[in-house]
Symmetry: C2
Subunit: 339 residues, 2 copies
Amino acid sequence: MTRIPFDLMKSTIKQAFLNAGMPEAKADICAQIHTESSRDGVYSHGLNRVERFVDYIGKGWVDVHAEPSLENSLSNIEIYNGNLGPGILNALFAMNRATEIAAKHGLGMVSLNNTTHWMRGGAYGWQAAGKGFAAICWTNTESCMPVWGGKSEAIGNNPFIMAVPRKEGHVVLDMAMSQYSYGKLQVTRLKDQKLPYPGGFDQEGNLTDNPGEIELTRRILPMGYWKGSGFAVMLDLFSALLSGGLTTAKIDKAGLGSCGSCCQVFIAIDPLRFNSGEFVEQAIADTIAQIKLSEMAEGVNEIYYPGEQSLKTRAENLKSGIPVNDGVWAKVMELATIG
Amino acid sequence: MTRIPFDLMKSTIKQAFLNAGMPEAKADICAQIHTESSRDGVYSHGLNRVERFVDYIGKGWVDVHAEPSLENSLSNIEIYNGNLGPGILNALFAMNRATEIAAKHGLGMVSLNNTTHWMRGGAYGWQAAGKGFAAICWTNTESCMPVWGGKSEAIGNNPFIMAVPRKEGHVVLDMAMSQYSYGKLQVTRLKDQKLPYPGGFDQEGNLTDNPGEIELTRRILPMGYWKGSGFAVMLDLFSALLSGGLTTAKIDKAGLGSCGSCCQVFIAIDPLRFNSGEFVEQAIADTIAQIKLSEMAEGVNEIYYPGEQSLKTRAENLKSGIPVNDGVWAKVMELATIG
């Protein structure tokens, strides 16, 4: 397996973005986030997503020069138009603004309409936690999953993130509403393996753990069946209502690619405005201890708190280099050398 | 099947609560909410929960005279001590206060520490939506589910609710973090049926759809496997950090029964402070239309938006009476006649 050092990956991605017309400072930040995503094991939205992002710039679906503009503010809430700027930059801006407001008011909420794909949603949870804030954020997407009871794609997989800051490692949940991503289906199929649990429906309408059959029907399973389906619908509605942006149904019609003109909500909370540092540390420590001291299930060697596996992967990839698919890496190097 | 008219059920429950020592106005409200839960099909936390609630009063785990007291306020946030008062009354108070704050600031957040079981969490979503507010609320609970990778009960099933107001019927998601409740396992076992999908682990550590085997191991499955497990952990942490209350780990040690001294968060949003009524209606209508127009899966006759099935059950139960288990109804009538 080829492994690439962090700095080389970042500078290569940055050059690809510069070649696509991004201003230097923006290219640097976007390359940093894409590389961090791969570093933490979220390859699908790290290096693997660079080519598509560059393609979107070329199509005019992402405006590399656009900046978010304030549309409305209300108490500790601000609403911005993302102006189809790079989703990563808009989201970093929005979460940062939410933490600034939270520092003043305890809680800050910033919503974005008309933004573009934020890549790895967890990035903004880690961002807030890194500044000492707890955070909740989510995005809507185009239709990519059937609603519960349906066969055709009708709802988004609307990633949802919650983060709590902690000295010894932040606690970060980053989950989409589908049980598995299409990226996971593809990787599993290419290895000729089955999914650990059923991940969608085959052509007869039966649940299956065969990833190739699900790729054919495009009937991926919402996590928790009807529960993830309902949650996806609510996240979509809240995204639009809090930002004045497009629902999934309208994103489908916008014709701006995956997440083109989507909307997002960022909530930051300063836990120290609510309780003492001691209380916060103890509550988190008690919870992690209770998880870790569980009697382990058959075949399990360690129980992880949310985000812990990302930290393990991060340490491993920083030490040994970030694993890449050779074809993907060659393509990004090509994008970095043209121009 | 015995069916009881709404008014008779409510007055019977109310008398049971009066006999248990509740003041009249409080008994009336609690009886209303328990009856509404059964009316909407949430039997487990409606009539079926009356006996246990009365038992908790007798044990001193619920103080029928206690009122929530303000501990802290901060911008559009208020934190109350629930003083172990009836969970329903504390939660109604908190959500109502959140809507009052939202009317002024767009968003209001009220958290409660040291409260007791709120029964059906959806009640507070319907409450907010009934006043024209969107809402998000959740509670933590005692340990009742293994964390992903564990066998022993370590995390709560922490119900999570999202609601959006809509003239033709509010959109309300009310979900616990377990795929099925213990109530559902029991009902399914008593009918000698299998669960529709695996709901937990058997004694060999295999997933099973046999409810009795799961009741034996007490290894119920988090919705979406690791996803619901992680979400439950985060909801617990946010409950405690936003309210200054007990985490699941500490509720386990409090010895005050199910949800004794738990904590809860109530967020209300006035959608009309964010967008025009027309925008809000259109966004919801588009989303529901997109769901409803899905190609239907095999054997499905109708696709529902979140909350729609509750409305159907409500209409049916108001017309024909609320179905009851004869033993449960006899017990509540007994509680209503003693005294």
